[in-house]
């Protein structure tokens, strides 16, 4: 059942920010919006909240058209990146504020605030003021405030980006387990893809004024519909090479400078049909592997000689930039191996993992 619907909404300031964006979020769904900084994610949330007036388009919540409803009547809750806790009120009063606005009785307010505080493990802090608590506690207080009055839509603006890793992990778990979220639709904004991956039922990649791709984390990763999406999701960033496509004796190849790579025949079908001669080739570092001596090569894979330029050991994995016949490729390596500068290595890539993007508009050429 569609809970939140955005219908071709448009919003601009001195330049257009959101351009005919449409989205449908179901009840109980946790929708994550990812995108680079400054792209308009916060603006989008503010539009849904009612803090910004739409230039065009409509917003529906539970079927009601709320486009012209002011924020205090929309029953939407939002956390701010800066928490926005009222400094002159205690934690208790901060969380109780939405309930007070609804003129609930004191006893009800008290029980609800205690309930939420317990849930978020801040029940010991209720008498403190915001300047007396830590960042993580502030975050949870802000979260508690948004939960307090049973909003219909839950908007979270980079709520945990400023916290240290341990607390982030804790809060992420809480997002998973909060019962309350099943009753509402949640729109969660982040620039951290890993976070999006772990939290979202569906993910929307924001770019160019709209949602460039919507899908599950897996879908977006495996099948980015444009170079933009591919480049922004995935750590480290995808390798992209400008290539010419040629066919020699029924064998299609991609040429980048002096590097020649075979093209998977399935891909070539689509490319040939569209008469593509030049495009951008995308290879994810995850699919470029360093060969360790006696590993047998698989059918479709190609082995190339490369020279190590830069190597970073990052704990769970290593990132290496290797130069292969003049082209630089980023490779993910096992953490145990160590590589020296200028070391010669052999890498293996599998053409079936390649992505091809249009040279001009970056659209993925393989549907």
């Amino acid at each position: 059942m569609v809970h939140l619907e955005l219908n071709k909404i448009c919003k601009g300031f001195d330049h257009p920010v959101i351009d005919r964006l449409s989205l449908k979020v179901d009840k109980g769904e946790f929708f994550v919006i990812v995108g680079p900084s400054g792209i308009g994610k916060t603006t989008l949330l503010r539009c849904i909240a009612g803090l910004e007036k739409l230039d065009e388009g409509e917003i529906f919540i539970e079927g009601d058209n709320v486009t012209n409803v002011p924020p205090y009547n929309r029953n939407v809750a939002m956390t701010f990146e800066s928490y926005a806790l009222y400094p002159h009120m205690t934690v208790f009063e901060n969380i109780a504020n939405p309930l007070k606005a609804l003129k609930k009785e004191d006893s009800l307010i008290r029980s609800r605030v205690y309930e939420i505080a317990e849930l978020l493990h801040i029940d010991g802090l209720l008498e403190r003021k915001p300047h007396e608590i830590s960042g993580g506690q502030k975050q949870r207080t802000a979260l508690g405030r948004t939960l307090a009055a049973h909003p219909r839509v839950f908007l979270l603006d980079e709520p945990i980006s400023h916290l240290d890793a341990k607390i982030r992990a804790e809060l992420r778990t809480q997002f998973h387990t909060l019962e309350a979220l099943r009753e509402v639709s949640t729109v969660y904004v982040t620039h951290d893809y890993a976070e999006a991956l772990s939290l979202g039922d569906r993910i929307g990649v924001m770019g160019n004024g709209g949602l460039v791709q919507i899908g599950t984390a897996h879908e977006i990763y495996e099948k980015p519909n444009s170079l933009f999406v591919a480049q922004h999701l995935g750590q480290p960033s995808i390798n992209s090479l400008e290539i010419d496509l040629i066919e020699e004796a029924e064998k299609p190849s991609a040429i980048a400078g002096s590097l020649k790579l075979p093209v998977d025949l399935n891909h070539w079908e689509h490319l040939k049909r569209k008469n593509i001669t030049k495009c951008t080739l995308g290879i994810r570092p995850q699919f470029v592997k360093v060969v360790n001596g006696d590993q047998s090569s698989e059918d479709n894979s190609l082995e190339l000689n490369g020279m190590v330029e830069v190597y970073e050991a990052l704990g769970a994995y290593g990132v290496m930039i290797t130069s292969v016949v003049g082209q630089k490729l980023t490779v993910l390596t096992d953490p145990e191996d160590k590589y020296d500068h200028d070391e010669n290595i052999i890498i293996r890539i599998d053409p079936s993992t390649f992505n091809y993007f249009d040279l001009n508009n970056g659209v993925n050429l393989i549907p």
Binding site: C10, D19, E52, K53, D55, P70
Partner: protein, 322 residues
């Protein structure tokens, strides 16, 4: 991310979009501002127009009550601009601003910095600040009266103090309020009272400067005078300038002390332009001329201040990039 070029702007963006806000109806801000503005208009614009009108008439006491004044064009302005009385008062005004307002700002700044940098004891600092700021709390008229009392030629405490300290012979007296010194005496009273304002402003500004820079300077081992010259003063430049503007804006238009101490005398030796306007307007009820005076004074001051503010804005912009 490619920026969408202007030619690619979608239609809805190019269409005229209302600036309407969801949160409050657009009428409300105007109502909120409107009421005070209306009152200001009543109290300020009305007099402005009135004075503007009468500046071109030959209004005086009788004609005002009988409502028979006639248009005399620019002659009021002409009379004012060419009167020696006005010229001399302008000369005195410059003296007063230099030795009064300027001196107050300079002294205030120096004292504020001395107080902040050299008195480390919090309590002592606060006590001294309060003591130094007290003159500002007094009514300017009372300050005038007080100094008039102190500067009496024969019974005045100042003269006798000078005698006791040996600066004057037993029979000598300085005619503080005589033709020679009267202006300086008024200036002294003014400096006594108003140095406190720039002092307070600069002190407050100094208090609000970020401590991080000073800690960095200390770590770098910079000597005190260098810190002062290279860090404190540049950061306070803007505040000092504003203190100057505030003091200047008040100095040229408040004539309480002249009124109370000398009434412009002896003769006309302590007349400042605004005071003359007062005399003309209230005592002699030469309203037309007084209006011309007021307008000339106001326009000049407004011009100067606006120029100074513009200069200030540019200096600040430059500083922002520095």
């Amino acid at each position: 991310m490619k920026e969408i070029s202007k030619t690619d702007y979608p239609d809805w963006f190019l269409k005229k979009r209302t600036g309407k806000n969801l949160i409050v109806s657009p009428a409300i801000p105007w109502l909120m501002v409107g009421f005070p503005v209306l009152i200001l208009i009543a109290i300020v614009i009305y007099p402005t127009i009135w004075m503007g009108y009468h500046a071109f008439q030959n209004t005086s006491m009788m004609s005002l009550f009988n409502n028979n004044f006639e248009y005399v064009g620019w002659s009021n302005f002409y009379n004012v601009m060419t009167s020696d009385r006005m010229h001399e008062s302008i000369y005195r005004l410059i003296q007063y601003l230099l030795f009064g307002a300027c001196l107050e700002v300079i002294l205030g700044t120096i004292l504020a910095l001395i107080l902040y940098e050299m008195i480390k004891n919090e309590l002592l600092r606060i006590v001294l600040l309060i003591l130094m700021v007290m003159p500002m709390m007094l009514p300017p008229s009372i300050v005038g009266v007080l100094w008039k009392f102190l500067l009496q030629a024969y019974n005045g405490a100042i003269n006798h103090l000078l005698i006791n300290l040996g600066f004057l012979d037993a029979m000598e007296r300085i005619e503080w309020l005589g033709a020679e010194f009267a202006l300086y005496s008024i200036t002294i009273a003014d400096v006594w009272q108003w140095t406190a304002l720039p002092l307070l402003i600069v002190y407050s500004g100094r208090v609000s400067l970020p401590p991080a820079i000073y800690e960095a300077a200390r770590v770098d081992g910079a000597p005190t005078w260098m810190v002062l010259k290279r860090i404190t003063l540049p950061m306070l430049k803007e505040i000092i300038a504003i203190a100057f503007i505030i003091r200047f804006m008040d100095a040229y238009k408040f004539v309480d002390k002249i009124y109370v101490m000398t009434s412009g005398g002896p003769g006309q030796s302590t007349e400042l332009p605004v005071f003359i306007a007062f005399q003309k307007g209230i005592r002699e009820v030469e309203v037309g001329e007084a209006a011309a005076y007021a307008w000339i004074i106001f326009v000049f001051a407004a011009l100067l201040i606006t120029l100074f503010l513009k200069y200030l804005k540019n200096v600040l912009k430059a500083q922002a990039f520095a």
